[in-house]
Symmetry: C2
Subunit: 472 residues, 2 copies
């Protein structure tokens, strides 16, 4: 049962913050969230192509009988290589040339590659064959005619879904980066083909993104920072709307707290691209643990999905354009998840303290911290816990707080540094008399005194960066 | 594939608001959210008892071969009856005495009751038997030792989970009220038995709840409003902590916008109670469509769960009390979901307008409205759309808004009444000159003019009920 994870109290708060960052960005661009079933019947997955082609190439060790994904074995052996969609005979040839052996027992591999389905099958009712969804995207496409109604036939429009998806990976690994159950966040923009270079997408043209084109990948290790407007003119990117979608991914990962210098956009190789994709790039994040890692796919899926579902359902999935002509919409997709960015925050920002040996601090951006404020009575007597509790309840209306009364104050500071809590509020002897408290800043460990009646506003401004700690 | 639902743009916003209301209440009581796998292996469900006993009694129509749940057939025939856990022979007898026929073809039922498992089975890896979880609760119990660590052995503490669960109902019905996939929200309070009458629970003692005890259910149709302190003294409720948990459910349903007069607490009959439950009540909501409907179960599950999982896992699931003695925790549970309250809001508050024939308004509490503000340029020219868009972007930082420029202004007001939008902001000719707008209130349809620079603050105060519309 590897590949299934529990998020504990702090992890779940962190993940919720990541998910709310995503909502914030999509909503800013007038997109609406939807929630679709996580289980759908066989026919849906025949239409989407998942039942036919959604498999991993598996090879068995002749000695210990363990199963491995061939493409991953090769990529781990040669980290610069992206295997992508490759024929079985080519995989076997590469495996043989590199003389790869079983990572567990060093045994030899067999000569046969098996196609292992990633779909988790179940039964609904008495005997209806159904599957846990392998992605949210397909489930988002099906209610297309309802969206057409809600948006009153005005295109382009966007919907997104944040929800569970399932892939029966044969070797789940790397923590939540490659789980069998995970939370996807996928947005779909429905658009008429003649709108793809619409001037509304010009608002992204001045954004500068680190683009690593297919051409660049042959020679240079670094992406080049290019204005999206220029990239479209130079035909590195096919349409303005696709450039806009790339920029949306760029905004998302910044809002989720990933430092820009750790982000790059890698263009798919021609032989790696799904057959229906017109333009395809990945957003990659440079992780301390694993190097550059795929975090988000941006695809122009053209009419593929709606045409497939139209064919399999027998229901017309088209809308009328401005000239009242029926057409199938194209779909621009941003496909990512919330487990990987959550992991990335820990990977990038959880660090050892320089000055205190063996101590750690989670230096993530303040707006993403699981707990925003810790309220600490200096001592567990003389009215301090009572006043602290009052302060805690007051702040609780605005921020995710924790009330923490046990252990020495220094230990409680350390504990909250480790959790990433931006501000510790301490209630001491003077607080009882002067109705004020100390605020301690996580990153500088500086402390200031603030009146209790001004505390909520001060913290609000600090967290929204409308006030610096030095200016209190 | 009945029993699987999609929430569209407005439905999902509503459901998110319901879920955030739940978070607000639990967090206020120092409880922490967790997220656990939605798929677990066979052994977990053997331990929880779901694989053995989690079945519905099914009967087949001898004519059209349709399957039905016997208990629900009986309850629909006699709405005053709660069937609960009843032996097969008794179910058959009641069915025969009432002379019930197949609701589809009026055919006769057979003589055999089948046990239909509600579990949805799947496979993980190559051959590991696993199931989509039928509830969140069990998955919340398993990481008990981790919680013990996070809360540093201080009891009682509470954790909650909001997430998907699956029941392969044979006849899903009543919209999202009885789906096959649904979102549960379940909180678990871990407590030592000697803490169950702890004075910390006295804070709930003055709350007055509409209690409909088992005794009352024999004679009277109405619950009696009783102070929880008195209910504990009269032994209607066994412990202070259980009374506190009932009150938590009461707070939750109020925060979710359900009017108090539509809520009652119904004590379980002795023969309806799960065998491990020490105290068990349901919170019921009076729906316009279906009458009193179960919305939430509050259970004292005692040591049942941790003991079972200890037995099946072979891992000690105990913690040390204040005297350093190892004990198994008791669990107080609030089990409900977010689909039913979302439905309840529509059921209760979506109504026909009195004065305008054929028109509807969704009069739900403002803080739960899917869209808080609609921004409407009066006309699509002369700078109005540009200014409206500016206002929309300004408000978008604070509220879930919609920008709506098409159709006559009256039609746009009606559209937003139907969606439940509390406030419509109109940008008209005067707005361009005076930098002000009109605010229209959904429930009174009154309008006021407000300066654009004061708009955000005014709307914030209105939505937080710190300002009345009349006082603008």
């Amino acid at each position: 049962m590897a590949g299934f994870y529990t998020y504990g109290p702090l992890g779940k708060l962190l993940k919720n913050n990541v998910e709310n960052s995503i909502r914030k960005v999509f909503v800013k661009h007038d997109m609406f969230e939807v929630e679709c079933p996580t289980i759908m019947e066989r026919k849906v997955w025949e239409a989407s192509g998942h039942l036919g082609g959604f498999t991993d190439p598996l090879i068995k060790c002749t000695k210990c009988k363990s199963n491995f994904r061939v493409d991953k074995l090769i990529e781990e052996h040669n980290p610069d290589l992206v295997v992508g969609v490759t024929k079985d005979e080519d995989l076997l040839r590469i495996l043989k040339e590199a003389n790869l052996k079983c990572p567990i027992c060093k045994g030899a591999f067999g000569d046969e590659i098996m196609a292992h389905s990633l779909m988790m099958k179940t039964t609904v009712g008495v005997d209806t064959e159904a599957y846990n969804r392998p992605e949210t995207a397909t489930t988002t496409y099906l209610p297309f005619l309802r969206y057409n109604e809600f948006f009153r036939g005005k295109y382009p429009f966007g919907v997104f879904q944040i929800g569970k998806a399932y892939r029966n990976e044969i070797s789940p690994r790397q923590n939540v980066l490659r789980g069998r159950e995970f939370t996807q966040a996928e947005a779909q923009i429905f658009i008429f083909p003649e709108q793809k270079n619409n001037e509304m997408f010009d608002k992204a043209k001045d954004a500068k993104l680190p683009l690593w084109t297919e051409e660049m990948q042959k020679g240079r290790k670094e992406p080049e920072t290019i204005k999206l407007g220029d990239a479209v003119e130079k035909k590195l990117i096919k349409t303005k709307s696709y450039a806009f979608t790339l920029n949306l991914a760029w905004e998302l990962y910044q809002e989720m707290g990933i430092p820009v210098e750790r982000i790059r956009f890698r263009q798919h190789h021609s032989d790696e691209k799904a057959f229906y994709a017109d333009d395809a790039w990945d957003l990659e994040v440079n992780l301390k643990s694993y190097g550059w890692y795929e975090m988000c796919g941006i695809h122009d899926r053209t009419t593929y999905d709606l045409k497939q579902h139209e064919k399999f359902s027998g229901k017309e999935l088209q809308a009328r354009d401005e000239n009242n002509v029926k057409q199938t919409q194209h779909i621009l997709e941003i496909a990512f998840g919330t487990d990987r960015p959550t992991f990335a925050l820990l990977d990038i920002f959880y660090e050892k303290k320089e000055k205190e040996e063996g101590k750690t601090v989670f230096r993530l951006p303040y707006h993403l911290a699981p707990l925003k404020v810790a309220v600490l009575p200096l001592m567990n007597k003389k009215g301090m816990p009572e006043l602290a509790r009052e302060v805690y309840e007051m702040l609780g209306d605005e921020f995710q707080c924790i009330y923490d009364k046990s252990a020495a104050i220094g230990k409680r500071y350390l504990r909250n540094d480790e959790r990433g809590t931006p501000y510790c509020i301490t209630i001491d002897f003077d607080s009882l008399e002067n109705k004020d408290v100390t605020i301690r800043d996580r990153d500088t460990t500086e402390q200031k005194r603030v009146k209790i009646e001004e505390l909520t506003e001060t913290l609000k401004k600090l967290l929204r960066k409308k006030l610096t700690f030095a200016d209190i």
